[in-house]
Amino acid sequence: MAVCVAVIAKENYPLYIRSVPSQSELKFHYTVHTSLDVVEEKISTAGKAMAEQRELYLGLLYPTEDYKVYGYVTNSKVKFVIVVDSSNTSLRDNEIRSMFRKLHNSFTDVMCNPFYNPGDPIQSRAFDSMVSAMMVQSS
């Protein structure tokens, strides 16, 4: 489903970023990095309204001709970004949400690992395979 999945630290550096190998990795890095602008915008506007009950899912950050970029932010301000191919029209909002939920769960597992140092790049194999599963489903 996804063509790129990224986890970005609170301080906006990538903790994990993976994209489908068929396309230029660099392009996705740029795309995800740029999407942080919108994420920040959404957080700052939503955050003021109700910091407590803020919805974690940020929705479509911005569409491009080829991709749709969706965002999600955890309560600890870790951002998840999923890039989906625009031609994949069968994908509904609910499916994107469930993908984020899965990602969040897996991320929580990573954080629970006592050997993982928060702030380090994620190298968990379980996380990686979960992301792979997410990306495989598309093709």
């Binding site: 301080e11 990538p14 660099l26 990095h33 942080l36 602008d37 915008e41 569409p63 625009s86």
Partner: protein, 1267 residues
């Protein structure tokens, strides 16, 4: 206004629902303006079917003359032209006329309506007073109304309305107007509801048929749009928009289904190749051309989408939602591109780019047209997407048409341009006259390289500025990067670089490694073109060490550096200083020796672990570290310098440097330095006592500025200019080192000529003309070179020194800067209490400063009467000389005499501390030794502490008149000893006294922490002296060494008042008539005290006896106490007795006691005290505390758990209070006092006796009183 003759033109804004008017046209014409004005004045609530929310609606109507043609034919679904209400106007007021003409006319009108199935009609009867007056045969108004109602309105009486005096300005006419208008509105709405409902039903039916083969989307489109038009006509834009959105969704779904393989036939017409890409047209409310195309089924996908969007846009703007337009526009454009791809519509390359570009600009123009500047600025976030999209598209067109290359377009590219321009068609009439139309822009941009550049830059900068304005800096930088690429293609690396550096800063700050690498590569290209050699080399170094690049790329950049480095330069001094961080990383620094402290002249090695980041081995001509030297502080104590731990240095002498990646990695590790905390202790300078302690953060300045990301993240290229090699006086250097990729170990020998602190400041690697400089080494790396004074210490060889036995002590001489020459000797002043025992096999070890054994040589010790001289072997400076000597400390004969001073050199000092060692209870003796050293003119005084291995206790035991002395010798040391020859002698022998040993003759072992008891019986013939001075002596030696000589141990003590004065006997007898004592029954306790001896001389003198008449008596106080709660003493438990001072005088006391338990009960204890009458001066303080406390305790116990004789308790209580009162008396006030006998003076015959107590016969009635 004249009623319309022909078919109304559909031009949305002017459309109103049609209402036909029949009957008296002149009458209506007179009322028309009033009516048209009044009708929309008040809103009406429109209740709707299908649960749609009711709405307030202002009704308007287009009144036209009734014609039969206006009525819709069967099957005509047109709604816009549908007459919703038919009104018949008449002002007839006399029956004649009515019957003659009007009724007939109405009949005809009704028939036509009925024929067309229209039930929405209304008859208006206008009355005017003026008209009535003229005619005489006028029927009342009501009658004509009634007639009409009778004739036409069967059951719908509301279909006939009267309007009275409409043109007059009276309250009556106003009232009638109002009711008429209300009626009119209601009927109109009813008609809407009914007719629209029917229409919607039909429409739905049509939609349901969409799976049938002949169904056409275009036909359906027209039907639903009709509905949308009506809603728009009613100004229900929201509802109108819904219709279009539904159509949009329906179409989208068909396209998606087509993609999924489920193609509908009608979709074929939309798949025709795109021939025209002239963009959206949003300036007309309805684009009739496109609408007709759709109506004819000839529209292409882009036509349909464009038309739909233009309608949606119009409605959204009516709804004041321009920002939704921009958002929908972006979605539409993306969607169209995707749909064309999905439907595999053939499109000329670049045509879509043109279409998108034109559409973006068209939308932006439309929005700009309806918003003012401030509104636009506040909503950049909505428009910037379109700007960027347009920019991208123009860029790709530019690349496609060869407008970006330096040489201009080639012929193929020119052909392509011509084709693209052809597809644009002619400019639309709306924009022909405007100078800035999207059409003109695109045409111009594609016409020449210069024009393209102008337009492209204009757009890019607009997007860039907007992004900046709304704070989307990352997006702005991405646009900047794209601009940079453009500038690079245009051959303007200077401008490109500024954009790239800006982007790079943001990527580095946020730690995005791939973008960093990519941007850096572009920068390198710019810098190379600009011939900024230093910057280029610095960037190359970073790229060469960048793990994101392939090996080939890295090698290429590395080679660039090396090539430059090896170029022969005309001026040798001109060296290029680059930051080392990209070239190699300092990982670890290790000192050998690990303490990083050496004495002057010693060798100190520094091992550097450098991690080479270059992809190939690099030969370094020189690797140098500059060192800063600070002179040793004169006040610094040499001893402390070595032991002080340096911050950051681990115990094995390693300084580890935080790993920072030069080009990427999480910005945290490089930006925010780790917290460095140190313990701080403030000691008073005089006695080294701790004043305060705390924790200090040493890098606060770094931590606090950490948040300012721009300053902390100085890119290496930016700071490269600041890299200058310090001209340090001292340098650590190694030449010709090859730095391999990965870890390298390089060893330096550090200079140590002068004492002081050496700080490593910089590191510099030289490769040809290039120097890689590490400007700061952090954490601070220092080593100390010290010069030390010679020092002598004497320590016990074992854990502690035992007195009385030969003990080994270790002499340690740290030579420091002093060289021990031949003939140097230590002079120890001898002391009688601690002789130095010299053995022949005494040798000294010489150790180097690192603890290695250097040599060993024999010591020669010469002792004279006063001094012992130890001649030292020759020892080089900064070495340690160690040897051992045996000393013996005599045990002081008794603890009493331990007070005497024991100083070897005769000086009078404070008395040696006779301390008791914690936990072990060993008495200690401090022994001072005064030593003269060859390096100093002053004597050194060293104190040694010896511990006495034994502790002795004595006690006097009695058996009637016979006396025994027991000595307990406790071994308090950890060693086992062999004891022999225990003797006990008097200091001044009394001839009549004999001490008879009852001890074993053989050697005895006393284990550690155990005691040995010795016993002597005293036998005497004549009277004993009141005081006996005895000396206990024994010999001992360690048990492990049986051969060693026995050492003496002695213990002096004194005994007083040895002989037995009184004997005391207690007897318990059962109650009368009982054989045995029983629990709970009173028994008799008889205490008899007997004086055993004649009063002695001393007693006569010091004892205060009461001479009453002829008989001399002393007063004794007895007390019966039972501490174990076995007995309850009834009645007086204590009392005074007067004893005659004569041998065998006996006094008996009887009292009653009650055993509380059955069994063998021990006797209650009986105490006897001397009772001193108040006249006697207090000599000694009687020790009543313990007894009283015990009493107290037992009292409590009894009170709680036992049946107790209250009397007894009271009496005890009185004793208690007496005792305490006595204590509270100030000294000197004459009060009677108690004085205990010394042990042995009173002999208790019944000590430890027991009596058998049988259980009580009636235990169950035992009463328990608790007081």
């Amino acid at each position: 206004m004249e009623p319309h003759e022909e078919k109304p033109i559909i031009y949305t804004m002017e459309n109103k629902p049609i209402v036909t008017c029949a009957g008296d046209q002149t009458l209506f014409t007179a009322l028309y303006s009033m009516l048209a004005q009044q009708l929309p004045r008040e809103p009406m609530e429109w209740r709707r079917s299908y649960g749609r929310a009711p709405k307030m609606i202002h009704l308007e109507a287009n009144f036209v003359q009734f014609k039969e043609e206006l009525l819709p034919k069967e099957g005509n679904k047109a709604l816009l032209t549908f007459p919703f209400l038919h009104i018949y106007w008449t002002d007839c007021c006399d029956t004649e006329t009515y019957k003659a003409t009007v009724k007939e006319d109405m009949q005809r009108w009704q028939n036509v309506l009925r024929l067309h199935g229209s039930t929405d009609w209304l008859i208006v009867v206008v009355e005017s007073d003026g008209k009535k007056k003229n005619k005489t045969n006028i029927l009342p108004r009501t009658s004509i109304m009634d007639k009409i109602r009778n004739d036409f309105c069967n059951k719908q009486s509301d279909r006939c309305v009267a309007l009275s005096d409409p043109l007059r300005d009276s309250s009556r006419s106003q009232e009638s107007w109002n009711s008429f208008l209300t009626k009119l509105r209601t009927l109109l709405l009813m008609s809407f509801t009914k007719n629209l409902g029917r229409f919607e039903d039909d429409m739905r039916t049509l939609r349901e048929k969409r799976t049938e083969p002949g169904w056409s989307f275009c036909d359906y489109f027209m039907v639903q749009e009709e509905l949308a038009f009506v809603f728009e006509m009613l100004q229900q834009y929201e509802d109108a928009l819904v219709q279009y959105d539904e159509l949009d969704a329906l179409f989208t779904q068909y396209v998606l289904n087509f993609g999924a393989g489920d193609g509908a036939n009608w979709l074929g017409s939309f798949c025709q190749p795109v021939r025209s890409w002239n963009g959206l047209l949003l300036r007309r409310p309805i684009d009739m051309e496109k609408r007709e195309l759709i109506q004819r089924g000839e529209a292409s996908l882009l036509d349909l989408r464009s038309y739909l969007f233009s309608r949606q846009c119009t409605l959204l703007i009516f709804l004041q939602r321009p920002w939704e337009v921009t958002q929908r526009a972006l979605e539409l454009l993306h969607n169209c591109v995707q749909e064309l791809r999905l439907l595999e519509v053939s499109v000329l390359q670049g045509a879509l780019d043109c279409w998108v570009f034109l559409s973006c600009l068209e939308v932006l123009h439309r929005i700009e047209g309806c918003c003012d500047r401030s509104q636009l600025e506040a909503n950049f976030s909505h428009t910037v997407g379109l700007w960027t999209y347009a920019t991208e598209k123009l860029k790709s067109l530019g690349y496609m048409c060869g407008l970006v290359s330096e040489n201009g377009p080639n012929s193929e590219e020119l052909n392509r341009t011509v084709d693209l321009l052809a597809g644009l068609g002619a400019e639309r009439p709306e924009t022909v006259n405007s100078l800035q139309s999207p059409y003109k822009k695109l045409k111009e941009a594609l016409s020449s390289v210069e024009a393209f550049e102008k337009h492209y830059l204009e757009l890019s900068h607009a997007a860039l500025e907007m992004y900046r304005a709304i704070g989307r800096l990352r997006s702005a930088r991405l646009v900047g990067k794209s601009l940079a690429e453009f500038y690079m293609r245009k051959g303007d690396p200077q401008t490109a670089q500024t954009f790239l550096l800006d982007s790079l800063k943001s990527y580095t700050a946020e730690g995005w490694s791939l973008p960093v690498t990519h941007t850096r590569k572009q920068i390198a290209q710019c810098q190379k073109q600009l011939q900024q050699t230093e910057d280029y080399l610095q960037t190359s170094a970073l790229l060469a060490s960048d793990a994101n690049l392939t090996d080939e790329e890295r090698k290429h950049y590395c080679q660039e550096i090396l090539t430059f480095a090896n170029q022969a330069s005309e001026d040798k001094d001109q060296r290029m200083a680059l930051s080392m961080s990209a070239f190699a990383q300092l990982r670890e620094l290790r000192f050998r020796p690990a303490t990083a402290t050496v004495h002057v002249g010693a060798s100190l090695q520094l091992e550097l672990r450098l991690c080479g980041l270059m992809p190939v081995p690099v030969r370094l001509e020189q690797l140098a570290a500059s060192v800063h030297f600070t002179l040793e502080q004169p006040g610094a104590r040499p001893g402390l310098a070595g032991s002080q731990r340096r911050p950051g240095v681990s115990p094995d002498g390693t300084v580890t440097f935080p790993a920072t990646s030069p080009s990427y990695g999480s910005p945290q590790s490089s930006a925010a330095p780790a917290l460095e905390l140190y313990e701080m202790q403030d000691r008073s300078p005089s006695d080294n006592a701790l004043n305060s302690t705390g924790v200090v953060c040493k890098n606060v300045h770094l931590l606090l500025r950490g948040n300012d990301s721009t300053s902390s993240l100085d890119t290496p290229s930016a700071s490269a200019s600041a890299l200058t090699m310090e001209d340090g006086a001292q340098m650590l250097k190694t030449n010709d080192v090859t730095l391999l990729p990965g870890n390298n170990s390089i060893v330096f020998t550090a200079p140590s000529m002068k004492p002081g602190t050496y700080t490593l400041r910089q590191l510099c690697a030289t490769v040809g003309r290039v120097q890689f400089v590490l400007p700061h080494i952090y954490p601070i790396v220092q080593y100390d070179v010290y010069s030390q004074e010679p020092q002598l210490t004497i320590e016990p060889f074992t854990e502690s020194l035992l007195a009385g036995l030969p003990q080994r002590v270790k002499f340690t001489i740290v030579t420091g800067h002093y060289t021990v020459k031949k003939g140097d000797a230590l002079q120890l002043s001898n002391s009688p209490s601690m002789p130095i025992l010299h053995s022949s096999s005494c040798s000294a070890r010489i150790l180097s400063s690192t603890g290695e054994l250097v040599g060993e040589s024999a010591l020669s010790i010469q002792a004279s009467e006063k001094v012992t001289s130890i001649s030292l072997p020759v020892t080089p400076p900064y070495h340690t000389l160690e040897f051992q000597l045996e000393v013996l400390c005599h045990i002081p004969s008794s603890s009493v005499r331990a007070e005497s001073e024991r100083l070897t050199n005769g000086e009078i000092r404070h008395r040696p501390k006779s301390r008791t060692r914690y936990n072990s209870g060993m008495a200690s003796i401090d022994q001072k030794v005064s030593i003269d050293c060859p390096w100093s003119i002053y004597s050194i005084l060293i104190s040694l502490t010896f511990y006495t291995p034994f502790r002795a206790k004595h006690s006097l035991l009695s058996a009637g008149k016979r006396k025994y002395i027991q000595v307990c010798l406790q071994n308090v040391s950890d060693t086992n000893f062999r004891l022999a020859n225990q003797t006990l002698v008097e200091c001044q022998p009394t001839p009549s006294l004999e001490l008879l040993s009852l001890n074993a003759k053989a050697h005895q072992l006393v284990y550690s922490k155990q005691c040995m008891y010795s016993l002597w019986e005293m036998k005497w013939s004549s009277e004993l002296p009141p005081c006996l001075q005895c000396v206990f002596a024994a010999s001992f030696s360690p048990a492990e060494a049986p051969d060693s000589a026995l050492k003496p141990y002695s213990y002096e003590f004194q005994l007083e008042r040895v002989s037995t004065l009184y004997s005391m006997k207690a007897e318990i007898q059962p109650a009368v008539g009982e054989q045995q004592c029983r629990a709970g029954t009173l028994c008799r306790l008889e205490v008899s005290i007997t004086r055993l001896t004649e009063p002695s001389e001393s007693e006569r003198e010091d004892e205060e006896a009461t001479e009453s008449e002829s008989l001399r008596t002393t007063k004794l106080m007895y007390e019966v106490v039972d501490n174990s709660s076995n007995w309850a003493v009834c009645g007086k438990s204590s009392g005074l007795v007067s004893m005659p001072v004569a041998a065998m005088a006996t006094h008996k006391v009887q009292m009653e006691v009650m055993p509380l338990f059955a069994g063998k009960l021990p006797f209650p204890s009986i105490k006897v005290f001397k009772y001193l009458p108040h006249s006697a001066l207090p000599m000694t303080q009687p020790d009543t505390d313990s007894c009283l406390e015990n009493d107290n305790l037992s009292l409590l116990d009894k009170g709680l758990e036992d049946q107790a004789d209250t009397a007894s308790i009271r009496s005890r209580g009185s004793i208690h209070s007496l005792g305490s009162g006595e204590q509270q008396q100030p000294r000197g006030v004459p009060m009677p006092r108690l004085e205990p006998f010394s042990p042995g003076q009173v002999f208790n015959c019944s000590l430890a006796r027991q009596v058998l107590v049988l259980p009580s016969t009636d235990d169950h009635v035992l009463e328990i009183n608790v007081t």
